[in-house]
């Protein structure tokens, strides 16, 4: 066996292990994928051998499972998100692409190169190579379908799928203060690549884009360099670019009942789109932050706009990070400690009819603009069972009333239906096509 056939993870995944054990690690991914049918992360995906760094985090996440991985999977540190336009008019081509993507995703998430056997010296290699020698980096690949996959702008059925378009899968409405760039919005297909190593995430999107050529073309993509949410109680709450802890009240993998209620589409939710049961909806919003003006705001203003203190992330009504905010608590002059326009008050479930989201966003910076201002912000990603109930009303309210909006601008928007996970031998979204 040559070195090249040993998986990347096999070589590196077990830090400090001998070469022989490293080679065995190659097979480890397969053996455990077959053996472990239900993972500890509540995703229904089996988890592979324990990684070297985080005690509770597996070194890789298997691709196949009840739900797609990359949703309740503990949020990895880096993101490369991509949206595609389907350029072919053939349904067979689309199915062939999803089949090829599924095979490639199983390889990539296991830390193996794409495409199998070595090719002739006179051919371009199947795998682009930049991830060789790197671990699987807990890569997850999550695929989704945009409304435009079902019907084009004129309402025409593109691939014989229109009858099965989910009722809730339509372009998000225009919210007040939106300044959307159509080139960076929407898309027929999406792939969310999350990994602890940015090179592994980019490698995945690059190879999937290459496989898609001739059937689908990259429409837009977004890099995220730092997670802004934790999706597991084992993770610390990270900070967004405003410097505040974000996603404290997020849904967590450890609460499957809440996930069933708020994230996973139920079997009877949409009879025409029964293929989506076990899946979810993904809201993607590119939210630019006016970094420079924010940095000039007093800490008093910053904390009042957010509704939490900056050092610990505790609600201003008192307590610690995970204390429930008390919106009734009042201070001097009988004013509420949690300001009426504070972000936490606007977004809190108790102020929104109990709706929750599973947030999975990332901080981004795309260099700077021509005026020397950072082009930075939050690439907001949220998984919900019902966008019409769980996102649209809240965003409508927030875009008008959230005090933070002074420092924010929504610049891109997309909504995707996220099919359930694929079983071995199936391709992603297979139920939609059968």
């Amino acid at each position: 066996m040559s070195e090249r056939e040993v998986s990347r993870r096999g070589l590196i995944g077990f830090a400090g292990a001998t070469v022989a054990v490293g080679a065995a690690g190659f097979a480890g991914g397969r053996a455990s994928a077959a053996e472990a049918s239900d993972g500890a992360d509540g995703s229904g995906n089996g988890a592979t051998a324990t990684g070297p760094t985080q005690q509770n985090a597996p070194a890789s996440h298997p691709f196949y499972g009840t739900h797609q991985s990359g949703i309740v999977t503990p949020a990895q540190d880096r993101l490369h998100f991509a949206a595609f336009d389907v350029t072919s008019t053939s349904r067979d081509d689309l199915v062939a692409l999803l089949t090829a993507w599924t095979a490639a995703a199983a390889e990539l998430t296991a830390g193996r190169p794409v495409g199998g056997d070595p090719t002739s010296y006179d051919s371009p290699p199947n795998d682009t190579g930049e991830a060789e020698g790197l671990s699987a980096a807990r890569l997850t690949l999550t695929f989704g379908f945009g409304p435009s996959l079902f019907r084009d702008a004129a309402g025409k059925d593109r691939f014989g799928l229109a009858a099965r378009q989910p009722v809730l899968l339509k372009r998000l409405p225009h919210f007040p203060a939106d300044a959307l760039d159509p080139q960076r919005s929407d898309g027929d297909l999406c792939v969310q690549a999350c990994a602890d190593d940015p090179q592994v995430a980019v490698h995945a999107i690059r190879n999937l884009s290459r496989i898609a050529m001739g059937t689908a073309a990259l429409r837009w993509s977004q890099l995220g360099f730092g997670r802004t949410s934790s999706t597991s109680t084992t993770q610390q709450t990270p900070r967004n670019l405003f410097g505040f802890k974000d996603g404290t009240a997020n849904l967590k993998a450890e609460d499957p009942a809440m996930l069933d209620q708020h994230v996973w589409v139920g079997a009877g939710d949409d009879p025409k789109a029964d293929w989506l049961a076990g899946g979810s909806y993904l809201v993607a919003r590119r939210i630019a932050m006016h970094i420079e003006t924010w940095d000039r705001a007093s800490l008093r203003e910053q904390e009042n706009l957010v509704g939490r203190d900056r050092p610990a992330g505790a609600p201003l009504s008192g307590g610690t990070e995970f204390s429930e905010p008390n919106f009734a608590t009042k201070g001097r002059e009988d004013k509420p400690l949690m300001a009426m326009n504070s972000h936490v008050r606007m977004a809190h479930p108790t102020q929104n009819g109990g709706v929750r989201m599973l947030r999975r966003g990332y901080n981004y910076t795309d260099g700077n603009d021509a005026l020397g201002r950072l082009d930075a912000g939050l690439f907001f990603l949220a998984y919900v069972r019902d966008p019409a109930k769980q996102y649209i009303p809240m965003q409508t309210k927030m875009s008008r009333q959230d005090g933070l909006m002074e420092y924010l601008q929504h610049r891109a928007s997309a909504l995707f239906a996220i099919p359930p996970g694929a079983a071995q031998g199936e391709h992603i979204g297979q139920a939609l096509f059968s």
Partner: protein, 397 residues
């Protein structure tokens, strides 16, 4: 994970790990959407070769028919080569050359059942260190193995004729163009510019293979080095479609000098291509290079910055790539029919798109295209380029 799971896992891991060695870690991944087609249809064998200055150690003396991979490592001190030879000991089934000391390179061959020889050639001289090698019947479909010499010769001759024909037409059209340009008949020169260049663009990789001619004939202003004299097509392009401000038109004498230079360089190109010969991998790579030209220069509108006649060049590059592929089709159809079908489909899709921008005998100028139209063209170029990049490998396997 509890302890019992862990121990169960490790034994499974161990067993699978051993199995992996025995079956050489083959995967069942079907590969790309377009059916790249270099994977074996049936059994697949991976072998290692250690080539030292005195030995040629092959990990096994037998392999199942189908795609066989020799991972050759040069463990010696001299540059080495590795060959798989037919049972006559003469015909080369597959080879990897120029492996420097310490380097590793894969030889992928599609081999039918039969007797062969393996050979390492440290120092690249002599008959090499040979050993018999047997390919057993795996039942894999091997309709086309080895290069059909007659088909290869035909393809090479056809392409050489095409290059000769295009340089003849280039000479004739260039003569008309420079005559008009020299005479100050700008309208006529403008109408002939893109037409004459078509014949250059169709064989661009061949023309570019002459490192002395290409910069003299086809250099863009943006590519000039400090102190370098700018000559060729694009000087005259700028002079015929001058910028509105800040441009000093060439004098009659300067025009004549440019015209003479281009005529002389075209004559040199013509002379050199009379007796050129090609190999199938050169033709295959030429087709890919032409599409690369489109992807990097034409689709961005950089090539014809003043005349905006990029779509003429675009079409000519595509024409040239198509001719190269068509010449190789008899070989490709036998070796990888799926790849051939994919290329055929993508050529026609791209042509359909190009046809939408036709106007009279030519095309609309590139500055008239919308961003969305450029994106569509770019997507179609990518769609064709991916399978086309596998052409050279497929016809030489």
């Amino acid at each position: 994970m509890n302890l019992s799971t862990r121990s169960r896992l490790s034994s499974a891991v161990l067993a699978a790990g051993l199995m992996c060695t025995a079956t050489a870690c083959t995967t069942n991944n079907p590969g790309g959407v377009t059916g790249g087609g270099t994977q074996a249809a049936g059994g697949s064998g991976a072998l290692t070769v250690s080539s030292t200055d005195t030995e040629c150690k092959v990990s096994a003396a037998t392999a199942p028919s189908g795609n066989i991979v020799f991972s050759v490592t040069n463990d010696g001190s001299k540059v080495t080569e590795f060959y798989l030879l037919a049972d006559d000991g003469l015909r080369i089934v597959g080879e990897v050359e120029n492996i420097g000391p310490g380097l590793k390179r894969d030889l992928v061959v599609k081999a039918a059942p039969g007797k062969y020889f393996t050979a390492c050639k440290p120092g690249m001289i002599g008959d090499g260190i040979r050993a018999p090698f047997t390919v057993t019947d795996s039942g894999a479909d091997l309709a086309a193995t080895g290069a059909d010499k007659e088909l290869v010769d035909t393809a090479n001759q056809q392409y050489a004729s095409y290059v000769k024909d295009q340089t003849e037409q280039l000479s004739a059209k260039t003569a008309q163009f420079v005559a008009a340009y020299r005479a100050g008949d700008d309208a006529k020169a403008r109408s002939l510019y893109a037409v004459a260049r078509t014949h250059w663009e169709r064989i661009e990789p061949v023309a570019e293979s002459f490192g002395d001619l290409d910069p003299k004939m086809d250099l863009r202003e943006a590519d000039l080095e400090p102190g370098q004299k700018w000559t060729g097509w694009h000087v005259m392009e700028k002079d015929l479609w001058p910028p509105k401000t800040g441009y000093q038109a060439l004098t009659t004498a300067q025009r004549a000098a440019m015209a003479d230079q281009l005529t002389a360089d075209t004559k040199t190109l013509y002379d050199r291509t009379r007796s050129m010969t090609f190999t199938v991998d050169q033709i295959g790579n030429g087709a890919k290079s032409l599409l690369d030209e489109v992807a990097t220069g034409k689709v961005t509108g950089e090539e014809e910055a003043w005349s905006h006649t990029d779509l003429w060049d675009f079409q000519a590059n595509v024409d040239g790539a198509r001719v190269a592929w068509e010449g190789l089709r008899p070989i490709l159809k036998k070796k990888d029919a799926a790849l051939d079908a994919s290329i055929a489909l993508k050529f026609s899709a791209l042509q359909k798109l190009l046809d939408q921008h036709k106007q009279g005998d030519g095309f609309v100028t590139y500055d008239k295209l919308t961003k969305a139209q450029v994106k569509d063209l770019s997507d179609a170029v990518n769609a064709l380029s991916e399978p086309l990049s596998k052409l050279a490998g497929a016809v030489t396997l």
